[in-house]
């Protein structure tokens, strides 16, 4: 047996532990053999408690005929895990409460950070000059029109999905509730974006089958105008969070601040647990039926005998029989089942509130890495890698605390909730023709953006303030791109060589524009009309475009919707 005395592990206590550990009874970690026996009798969730009671230093059943194990159903997490499915069979879950809980969690989902909902900067029509480290928690759609570096305006539609949100939806899990799944932590930072070019002008060739009038020259084929959608780009993004350890002082400070900031929410959730627990246990335990008291007496006799003879298997066997009887009794009526489900929901809401605190303490993603495969119109396809970094400003005025240390107060300042993002991007051509006169390396890009929220709600304190649900976000961005060769233009089949009637081959390419630096400045206002709905309007200036020299001033606009706001439509079917 491994004895985990609290005093022995107090070195890792991150709080001010002034408990008199010398008085604390020992918590006994069961041996592997004891765990096997607990599992055999279906009481694995209580094995630590059983091993603790069975330890010679704690055998209260043997000495006093009483034990805390009689009411170990009060260890809520394992009891709910073992019994909630049975409770569901007795009672139809309270849909109104479920929906109310999802509303709260959905609000948390769409409140956090300044996220990216449109396409990557390199995509045709994108209104995002700089990528953000944060994206949607489920699905978002965006329609955008404009161009940054391209000579031609583009219009694109983008669909963005979070891998964890999609998996939860496909697995019939509530999208905005935490899913304790081994893949969840890995998938949550992963998102995908697919962009389509729409309203794209083009031409296709068609053979001529005859002359419509006798005056028409003889033609073999003509170009027909086309206007269709085509694949523009695919993006995979993975968010990277600050590494933390619970013992790290900075994390402790952030954790304490987040706890204080969310104390009211946690207390409210905790009170709901207490009310649900009282409604469940007080009536049920006030008048125990004979079946329970008889099982309890049998367990006490068997348990004492097993303790006296040091027989762990018999001890667990005796307890398991009692635990089954009391568990069944505590969910035996529809009211009991309803109360246990209400307790389960309250515990789940409390757990989600705790994760919200944890995520606040951990902070927004420090960076993200992304890969983009693009097929620009009439240009060769490219592979692109981007590192995006971001920093969120908490604001607050500098003040001195009682120790004379400079800290920040809870007031809203110009920088509160503002965000600075930076990108580094490198692009290569996906395919290089054997006779190409240009290299595979296309360009490198550097960009930065400052986002300032307006309106909204100030949340958090102690230097952790941020702005949730801003009415609008004003952004200023700068972008520099060094291109190693002039822009490559793919000439579609059917074009004729100038001054001739010689049709060019399908893979003909020409170089346009110039190599070197291309710079873009952008001002953008994103208006949040309602939860999840955004309209970005932007104005950009560039020193040239990819095909033509000379300054270029252009406007961009779009509309995007984060489907995370449609929480009521995204219910898992249970």
């Amino acid at each position: 047996m491994i004895r985990a005395r609290a005093s022995a592990i107090s070195m890792t206590c991150i709080f001010l532990c002034n408990v008199s550990f010398g008085q604390a009874p020992q918590v006994i970690q069961p041996s592997s053999g004891q765990n096997t026996i607990c599992a055999k009798y279906h009481v694995a969730g209580e094995c630590v408690a059983l091993a603790t009671e069975f330890d010679p230093s704690n055998r209260s059943l043997s000495s006093t005929q009483t034990t805390f194990l009689d009411s170990q159903f009060g260890n809520v997490t394992p009891f709910i895990t073992e019994n909630v499915k049975a409770a569901y069979t007795k009672y139809l879950a309270d849909q109104a409460a479920t929906l109310a809980k999802r509303e709260v969690l959905q609000a948390i989902s769409t409140e956090t950070a300044i996220t990216q909902v449109g396409s990557a900067p390199s995509s045709s029509g994108s209104t995002n000059l700089v990528s953000k480290p944060t994206t949607t928690d489920f699905l978002s759609v965006a329609a955008e029109s404009g161009a940054f570096t391209d000579t031609l305006n583009g219009t694109s539609v983008s669909l963005q999905a979070n891998a964890d949100g999609l998996l939860k939806y496909l697995a019939n899990q509530p999208v905005f509730e935490r899913w304790e799944n081994k893949y969840a932590s890995f998938l949550q930072p992963l998102s995908f974006t697919v962009s389509e070019n729409v309203a794209q002008s083009g031409a296709t060739t068609a053979p001529v089958t005859g002359q419509g009038t006798t005056s028409t020259p003889s033609l073999s084929q003509v170009l027909l105008p086309s206007n269709n959608a085509s694949f523009a780009s695919f993006t995979a993004t993975y968010a990277i969070y600050r590494k933390y350890t619970p013992q790290n002082k900075a994390f402790q400070d952030a954790w304490s601040a987040a706890l204080n900031a969310n104390k009211a929410k946690l207390d409210a959730a905790g009170q709901q647990i207490a009310l649900a627990a009282g409604a469940w246990l007080v009536p049920a335990l006030s008048a125990l039926p004979n079946s329970v008291t008889n099982a309890q007496s049998t367990w006490h006799v068997g348990g004492k005998k097993a303790e006296d003879t040091n027989d762990f298997d018999s001890f667990i066997s005796a307890y398991a029989d009692y635990y089954k009887v009391i568990s069944d009794y505590l969910i035996s009526t529809t009211a009991d089942a309803q109360n246990l489900l209400a307790l389960n929901m309250a515990v789940s809401a409390y757990n989600n509130a705790a994760w919200n605190v944890f995520n606040q303490a951990r902070g927004a993603p420090l960076a993200s890495i992304s890969y983009v495969y693009s097929t620009p119109v009439q240009q060769p396809a490219t592979h692109q890698g981007t590192i995006a970094i971001g920093d969120l400003f908490h604001g607050g005025k500098k003040v001195k605390d009682t120790n004379g240390q400079v800290t920040r107060d809870n007031s809203r300042t110009f920088l509160t909730g503002a965000q600075l993002s930076g990108n580094f991007t490198a692009t290569i051509y996906a395919n290089l023709p054997s006779n190409a006169t240009y290299g595979r390396f296309r360009d490198v890009q550097l960009s930065a953006e400052f986002d300032k929220p307006f309106g909204g709600i100030l949340t958090g304190n102690s230097g952790q303030q941020t702005i949730t649900s801003p009415r609008a976000v004003l952004s200023f961005a700068g972008y520099g791109q060094y291109q190693y060769d002039p822009t490559v233009l793919t000439i579609s089949a059917g074009n004729l060589a100038p001054g001739t009637n010689i049709a060019l081959p399908g893979d003909a390419q020409a170089l346009l524009g110039t190599a070197g630096w291309l710079g873009v400045l952008q001002g953008k206002l994103v208006i949040n009309l309602s939860k999840g709905l955004q309209i970005p309007v932007a104005l950009k200036w560039s020193n040239k475009t990819n095909l033509l020299p000379g300054n270029d001033v252009r406007g961009q606009f779009g509309i995007s919707y984060d489907l995370s706001a449609l929480s009521n439509l995204l219910t898992g079917k249970t």
Binding site: Q23, E53, T66, D267, L281, I326, N351, W355
Partner: protein, 104 residues
């Protein structure tokens, strides 16, 4: 002092009782004492390692909500003196222990 007796713990009406927590990382976030219609907040120590409440008549439930700064499956202990009142299994960042108390 609280005394374990069957499915509940017996306490004396009007007595202020103290329950302590033994844990490596978890602490008491909040605690409530009462029944299904009304609950009273218990007084939680600043370090989150103990709480105080006053026993009232009849059967009530002491609900102790725990929180940890990192996901853990640790089993922690709520106790008074040398008496174990509840062993609580942490699930993720939180855990809840219920202690039925009969005030006499």
């Amino acid at each position: 002092m609280l005394k374990v007796a069957g499915v509940s713990v017996i306490g004396s009406i009007g007595v202020v009782e103290t329950v302590s927590l033994s844990a490596s990382t978890a602490s008491i976030q909040d605690a409530f004492y009462g029944n299904g219609t009304s609950v009273t907040p218990a007084t939680v120590a600043a370090d989150g390692m103990s709480l105080k409440f006053t026993v009232t008549a009849g059967l009530n439930v002491l609900t102790v909500n725990l929180i940890a700064p990192a996901p853990t499956t640790e089993s922690v202990e709520l106790y008074q003196g040398k008496t174990i009142l509840r062993i609580v299994t942490m699930g993720g960042l939180t855990g809840t222990g219920l202690i039925p108390i009969m005030g006499q």
